[in-house]
Structure formats: structure tokens, C-alpha cells
């Protein structure tokens, strides 16, 4: 299971805003597919999947402020289920 999370970038990044979901729960995702777009205090950032599988549930909604380090969703490998 791969967790897609808001990376803590730079010296003092606190929160990011979730701008867009490009994949829905249950969608097949492949390595490199952009799953979500976030906005930090400096830039907008595409968050790609680093593994292939099926997307789990969205843990945040568009426009939510998400603390750095928090998981947005998971990518499930075949046979895996969400915790």
C-alpha cells in the first residue's frame, strides 16, 4: 500500500490546500499518474502515484487545509484492502 501524502517542503511549511482530485476512489492508477493537486505557501504541486493499483477513499475534500505529512489517500496493490 502506498500512501499519498502532503510533503513537508522547505524549512517551515505547515499546511497545504487540496485544490483538486484527479482520481476517484476505485479508479485504476498507474505509476506517474497525478492523483491530486495541492497548493503550498510557495507553489502548486502535482502529487503522482509511485506505484500502480486501485485508489482508496479520499481522506480530505477539495479546499480542505491539510497539515504537512498527512495522508490524502492510498494506492492499493492487488489483494490489499484499506485499514
Amino acid at each position: 500500500m502506498e500512501e499519498i501524502f502532503v510533503p513537508a517542503l522547505g524549512m517551515a511549511m505547515d499546511n497545504a490546500v487540496l485544490l483538486e482530485w484527479l482520481k476517484q476512489p476505485g479508479d485504476q492508477v498507474n505509476v506517474g499518474d497525478i492523483v491530486a493537486v495541492i497548493e503550498t505557501d510557495k507553489t502548486t504541486l502535482d502529487l503522482p502515484a509511485e506505484t500502480s493499483g486501485v485508489l482508496g477513499k479520499h481522506m480530505y475534500a477539495v479546499n480542505d487545509e491539510v497539515p504537512a505529512g498527512n495522508t490524502l489517500c492510498v494506492v492499493l496493490a492487488p489483494g490489499e484492502a484499506e485499514a
Partner: protein
């Protein structure tokens, strides 16, 4: 290049593996927000740190830079106390008050990392002056990056070390990029060793991906310093595998350039091959070493995670010399 005995060689290899695993682990934890204030990953630069520190005596002094985990691990501090410092915990090398950029312990000859470009050479020069004044049989190493080569303070310190014949060794941990600026684009004259030679010191451009080469040049520089012959300058060409700071989305290097350095010049791959060729280890022994390193770093993370934050009453500790009891 003469290879050291089996125990020493395997020690050099394991130390480089510890640094690589530590950095890649800490990088991921930093992205998760576990490392206060960010960090600078030294993956790729292991041979410089291990080559230099293995040529020094335990109480020789080092002063380093913003990118200092590798120097600090190679000086003999444990992955536990460094990881705990990254997590700003009381069990960290600096009591949890310094984080990634302020690793240090003057009682053991580590005069610290710092966030000022090029400052390590000035600090090390001061330590070298102290060593000379006290007549100690020690040397002082100032680590600096290529970005620090064009700051005025660096060369003021170098000049003083030359005229006073101080036991200083300047080591350029030259990863070729000052954040995103390529060293070749900003180096007047193009040759750092020649620049240093102009100040009247022995100076060398060497392969910073070869741990034995670094070790040899530093050993010789140390001998000269102890013999009263003054400072030396060693420009060790290396490469950092990750961004300047964790999470940096750099566009200033091509993926091809990064991949080429990793696949053809990697210091750990290179020295692993040397060790195997010399019959010091087989592949099974290398795998076992890697597994023991993995266990060590996992233990360091668990230790850091379980350690308490520093008590607020310690906030003024270690900021004046009276408290430090500095003994050069």
C-alpha cells in the same frame, strides 16, 4: 591506491552504507514533517566524509556546513543521537535544541554545523589557532561547499592560516551545485586548487567519490600540518543525489546527469567492488552488512521517536563558553 587492512576497509564501507541509509530514511521522514526545520541530504557524498574522518585522530577538530549528517556520522557519533537531534529530542547530539543544521559537540572536537555559507572554514581556522597556541598535536578541518568558495570570509581565513602556518585542512565537499548554481558557471579561473595555491598553500583537486583517495590526501595534509608546515586545501569533487534541501523540486540538472553519476561513480558501489576484489568480503557478507546497517537505522528512528522533547529549562544551555567548558 594501497588498500588498508581488512578491518579498516570493511569499516570504511560500512560507514558509507550507514550514511546512505540514514540519509534516505531521514529524507522520507522529513517529507512527513518529522524533521523540524528541514534538512539537507548528503547521499552521494559519503566518500568525502568517510575519507576525511578516517584519516583524522578522534580529537582532531572539524567544523562543517548546513549539510553535515555525513561528516558527523563519520566522526563517530551514533545514528541514534543524530536521528534524535533531527527529531529535536533531548537525547540528540545537541540536546534537541539544534536540529539538522546544528549538530555538534565541542568536547569531542565537533565544532558544529551552521547555516552560514562558508562559515565552517572560519570556525576551523579559529580552532587551528587555538591548537597552535596550546601546542596540541591536533589538526582542524574546515568543511565547505563549492558555494562557499566565492565568499570573502573563506579566503580571509585561508590567508591567516597560511601566514601563521596553522594546522588547518580546508576540505571542499564539492557537490558542484550551490543550491541550483553550477560551480563551473561561477568560478573565476575555473580551478579551485589553483586559486588556493595562490595563497601559498598545498592544494589539490581530487576524486571525492573515491574514499581511499580522499583518505590518502587528508592523511598527507595532516602529517604536514603536524610537522608545522601549515594548511592544505583539498577540493574533493563529488555529487549530491537529491535536491539541495529535502523536497526541492529542482529543474537545474538533467535526470540523465544524475543517473550517470549514480550508475558510474557511486562511492559505495565503487568501494564494494574494491573490497570484493581484494577478497575482504563476498557478496553474502556485503548483503549481511547492508542488513545490519538497515537494522541500525531502524533502531535509530525508533529511539528518536520514543525520546522526549527537551525540557524548557534547558533552553539557555550550551550557548556560552562557561557552560561548555571548552577544552581545545
Amino acid at each position: 591506491m594501497t588498500i588498508p587492512d581488512k578491518k579498516t576497509s570493511l569499516g570504511l564501507l560500512r560507514q558509507m552504507m550507514v550514511i546512505r541509509d540514514f540519509e534516505e530514511t531521514a529524507d522520507k521522514l522529513s517529507l512527513r514533517g518529522k524533521v523540524s526545520g528541514g534538512m539537507h541530504n548528503s547521499s552521494g557524498q559519503e566518500a568525502v566524509a568517510v575519507g576525511v574522518l578516517s584519516a583524522l585522530a578522534p580529537l582532531d577538530v572539524i567544523a562543517t556546513t548546513h549539510r553535515s549528517h555525513h561528516h558527523t556520522l563519520a566522526k563517530g557519533f551514533t545514528s541514534r543521537e543524530i536521528m534524535a537531534e533531527l527529531f529535536t529530542r533531548s537525547t540528540g547530539i545537541s540536546g534537541g535544541r539544534g536540529a539538522s543544521m546544528h549538530l555538534g559537540d565541542v568536547t569531542k572536537g565537533h565544532f558544529g554545523g551552521n547555516g552560514i555559507v562558508g562559515a565552517g572554514v572560519g570556525i576551523a581556522m579559529g580552532a587551528a589557532l587555538g591548537i597552535q597556541q596550546k601546542g596540541d598535536k591536533k589538526v582542524s578541518v574546515g568543511f565547505i561547499g563549492d558555494g562557499g568558495m566565492n565568499t570573502g570570509r573563506t579566503w580571509e581565513a585561508v590567508n591567516m592560516a597560511v601566514i601563521w602556518k596553522l594546522p588547518l585542512i580546508v576540505v571542499v565537499d564539492n557537490n558542484q551545485y550551490a543550491v541550483e548554481t553550477f560551480v563551473g558557471r561561477v568560478t573565476g579561473g575555473g580551478d579551485l586548487a589553483k586559486r588556493a595555491e595562490g595563497f601559498g598553500m598545498k592544494a589539490f583537486n581530487i576524486d571525492g567519490m573515491d574514499v581511499l583517495e580522499v583518505r590518502k590526501y587528508v592523511s598527507e595534509a595532516r602529517e604536514r600540518a603536524l610537522a608545522g608546515e601549515g594548511p592544505s586545501f583539498i577540493n574533493a569533487l563529488t555529487y549530491r543525489y537529491y535536491g539541495h534541501n529535502v523536497g526541492e523540486k529542482g529543474q537545474y540538472r538533467t535526470q540523465e546527469e544524475i543517473d550517470t553519476w549514480k550508475s558510474t561513480k557511486d562511492p559505495i558501489d565503487h568501494f564494494t567492488a574494491v573490497v570484493i576484489e581484494n577478497g575482504y568480503a563476498d557478496q553474502a557478507a556485503i548483503d549481511e552488512m547492508r542488513a545490519s546497517v538497515r537494522a541500525e537505522i531502524e533502531d535509530a528512528v525508533a529511539f528518536a521517536d520514543a525520546s522526549p522533547e527537551p525540557d524548557i529549562s534547558t533552553i539557555y544551555d550550551d550557548i556560552d563558553s562557561g557552560k561548555l567548558g571548552v577544552q581545545l
